[in-house]
Structure formats: C-alpha cells, structure tokens
C-alpha cells in the first residue's frame, strides 16, 4: 500500500456514495489536497447494500428537492464523470400502494407537495395501479401514487464513477484505512489519526453512514444518528416483466426488477433494534416471500439466489444532518440519510461541497442543521420504508 499523505486540506471519512461524490465535487471546484479514507473497500457499507432505487415521492420539501435535483444529475452522470461502463440508470417509475384511507390521505398531501415542486407524480386508483403493473393483485388496494421519472441506478458503478473522476483530479483515495481518532486544536479539527498513519488537515467530512455517530464521538459530538439493519434479497435474472418499483408502505416492503433482470426486494422491520448487526435472518426471507406472493402472485416461481443486510443511518426525522458543526469548527457531517442516501447523494454532495468551501449553498440547508433536535423543530418525513 502506498504511503498515506501526511497533510491534506480535507479528509473525507467513508467511501460510499456520499464520500466519493463530495470528493468529486470539491475537486471539481478546484480544491487541492483532498483525501478520502475508507476502512474497508469502496461501497462496502450502506451504498453497496442498498436497494438502488431513486424516487422523488417524498413527504418533506427538503427530501423532494434533494431527490428532484439528484435525478437531474443522474440523467447525465455517466457522461459528466466520463465513466465508460455506464451506471445502469433507468427511469421506470415508482408505484406506491395505499391500503388504508389514512395512507391515501397522506399520499394526497405528498403528491400536492411534490407537484408544487415540479415533481410529476400523481394519485392513481387501484384499477390504474393495475394498468401500470398488470400482475398486481389489487384485493384490498385503495389506490396509490405514481411518478414515472423515478427509477434506479447501479450503486457500485455510480460510486466507482465518482471515485475515479475524483482520482483523476488528484484526490487521494485510501481503502483499508480506518479512522482511529480525530484531534482538535482550539476548537478546530486539526488531525485525523488512521490505521495507516496521521493526516494533518483543516477540514473533516463525516460521511460514515451507519458509523457516523462513532466518528462524531471522536470530536465530542453526540450525533442523533443510529445504525439499523435492513435486509434485501434478490432473484435470478429473468426477462423484463415488471416496469416500475412497487412500494407498499403499510407492509414495509419494496420490489423492483433491475436493468440486469433480477428482482431486488427489501423489507423494513419496525421492531428492528438499533445496532451494527448485518447478519441476514431466515425470518426475513419467509416474511417477505409471503407478502410478495400475496401482492404479486405471478412472481411465486421466481428463484431467490442471494440475501444480505446493511445499515440505514437513521435520523429521528428521517432527513439527513448536513453542514458544519457549530461546536467543532471544520467538522462537517453528511449523514442520517435514513435509507435514502444513495438517491439524494448527487445533489447533496454538490451542496456539501459549497458549504465546505465557505460558499452559500445554492439552496438553504439550514433546516437540516445539527440543532433541530435540541429545539424540537422536526419536520418528520412520513414516507420511509
């Protein structure tokens, strides 16, 4: 392994989509001496374990804007990053199912908000839902919401594309490099101590996903971000059959056929304890198979070939914490993405780079500051699986 640099302007902690895209955006704006450290390999954390979906149908203004603008970036991202292998980006839509009047009411509010922000979502009846997904069992279905510009991309290629573009602009990227501690001088970060050596720096960016609170603790911050296991399973590839992602909030599951042909499906367990456990459980595959074969009975013969788990970096209001800590100068956080970090990363990273460079971010992100929890001014995102 190459000797680690002893000095940098910025040290980014975490080699997922956020770390890689922040590194790229900083380098593109001309910043020199950027280092990214990753304790394992790129995409080894939440990014490489995520469901790969990209949706704009959110219930808070901020999540809507971050995802809408990210979709615009995704549309030309492979070209922007000059990545010859493609990022498997498709806009095949998202269909959200409503099984209770309360859910339908919430979708109505969300769609009104989304439309006011230029997101082309709409409410659908259960018959229209079946027109969109002909193999959908509509028993008990009251309706839903649909947005045709939602979609998916390959999280591995997106992250490697950002990382390679960043490296071409001089960013030093160190895998297998774990952060052990962060030192401060007069209330400012000044050094990151890693398993491969120390790096003097002016700015630290915490993009450590489920481990963000551990990194925060290293500078004495109590970030309200906690890890929560979420599981996924995937089928063998089959011919194109289902166009959009189907999400069922009340049963906490989602299922989508990828560009490659495999069906990827996941489920959130409302009783999942906090913690770093990423072992898969057999209960998950059985419970999810029961739900899928009930809502999408035509998929019953589909063979499942792999199951895994990863960590959501949960925040109490299901929105990220973005920006510089008021207590520790030079310490920036972009974490707490609560299961939708991959899809909003491209635009979030752009805003983060602007904030890190001391510019005014192009949209005001103060609402996502560190202090919203102390003041209790939370706007809860209602649309999380």
């Amino acid at each position: 392994m190459a000797m680690i640099k002893k000095k940098a302007t910025v040290v980014i902690i975490g080699g997922g989509i956020l770390g890689a895209s922040v590194a790229y955006n900083l380098a593109r704006q001309g910043l020199k001496d950027i280092v990214l450290v990753e304790k394992s390999y790129l995409t080894s954390g939440a990014t490489g374990r995520c469901g790969a979906g990209i949706r704009q149908q959110w219930g808070t203004e901020m999540n809507c804007i971050l995802s809408r603008e990210s979709v615009r970036i995704f549309e030309t991202l492979a070209e922007e990053l000059e990545y010859p292998y493609g990022i498997d980006y498709r806009q095949n839509g998202y269909l959200l199912l409503a099984y209770s009047p309360k859910e339908r009411e919430q979708f109505s509010k969300n769609v009104a908000l989304q439309n006011s922000l230029g997101i082309p979502s709409r409410q659908v009846t259960s018959a229209e839902a079946r027109d969109i997904v002909p193999h959908l069992n509509i028993d008990g279905l009251l309706g839903g919401a649909y947005c045709h510009t939602d979609g998916h991309a390959n999280p591995f290629h997106v992250t490697f594309a950002y990382a390679r573009a960043a490296e071409r602009m001089g960013v030093n990227l160190y895998s297998n490099t774990e952060v052990l501690s962060i030192e401060k001088d007069k209330g400012r970060v000044c050094r990151v101590v890693t398993s491969q050596g120390s790096i003097d720096c002016e700015i630290v960016v915490n993009t450590a996903g489920g481990h963000a609170a551990v990194i925060g603790e290293m500078v004495g911050l109590d970030l309200p971000v906690y890890p929560e296991r979420h599981q996924i399973m995937i089928s063998e590839p089959v011919d194109a059959f289902q166009v959009p992602m189907v999400i069922c909030m009340s049963h906490h599951f989602y299922i989508q056929q990828t560009t490659h042909g495999s069906f990827i499906m996941g489920q959130g367990d409302p009783n999942e304890p906090k913690g770093f456990n990423i072992n898969p459980s057999w209960q998950f595959s059985v419970e999810l198979a029961k739900k899928i074969t009930s809502v999408l009975p035509h998929l019953k013969s589909l063979n499942i070939i792999r199951q895994w788990a990863g960590l959501y970096d949960m925040c109490p209001d299901a929105q990220p914490i973005l920006g510089e800590s008021p207590e520790v100068k030079g310490f920036f956080t972009a974490s707490g993405f609560s299961g939708h970090g991959f899809m909003i990363a491209p635009y979030t990273a752009k805003l983060m780079a602007q904030a890190i460079l001391g510019e005014e971010p192009e949209i005001n992100i103060d609402i996502l500051n560190y202090h919203r929890f102390a003041s209790g001014q939370l706007i809860l995102e209602p649309a999380v699986v």
């Binding site: 080894s44 063998e236 057999w282 059985v286 198979a289 074969t293 998929l299 199951q307």
Partner: protein, 90 residues
C-alpha cells in the same frame, strides 16, 4: 484466448474482463465482484471464485490462501418465493 474464456458462467464474464479490472488497480475480490457481477449469479461464485482468486494471486503475488473471499450468503441454492412462503405445494 482470454477473450473467449468464460470465468463466470452465470453472468458471462470473461477472463479478459477480469484482467482489465485487475490491471486498473481493483485488486480486491469484493470490488471485482461488484464491478463485473462475477459471482452474483445463480451459482453464487462456486465456479468463478477460485479462478478469480488465482488471477488475484498472480497480480498481488500472494498465495490464494492469503486472500480473503466474499461472504457466503444465503440461500445455499436458489429457492422459489412460493417455497419460502411455505404454501406446501412445491
């Protein structure tokens, strides 16, 4: 020859493709798996894992025994959704 040699039969990945990524500096089998999909198909790497390890061992000058391999993930062999759901008619 490497162009026609299939390393991962499930995902149709050739030896040439594996070598290309290795030459670009991706010398961790986890990265190779995620970038090429080798090992992500129905057999879950039973065939390609050892071939890729041998290539990695050449590049890294480490013995295959010293290299790490990707996590074995359930199920051990493909299982249909209806079997998992336990409808009893399989």
């Amino acid at each position: 020859m490497p162009k026609n040699t299939i390393v991962c039969r499930c995902e149709d990945i050739t030896l040439e493709e594996i070598r290309e990524w290795l030459q670009m500096g991706y010398t961790n089998i986890e990265e190779i798996k995620r970038l090429t999909r080798a090992g992500m198909g129905p057999c879950q790497g039973r065939t390609c894992r050892t071939h890729i390890l041998r290539e990695l061992s050449r590049v890294s000058e480490m013995s295959p025994a010293e290299l790490t391999i990707p996590t074995f993930r359930p199920p051990v062999k493909p299982v249909s959704l209806k079997t998992l759901a336990g409808d009893g008619n399989d």
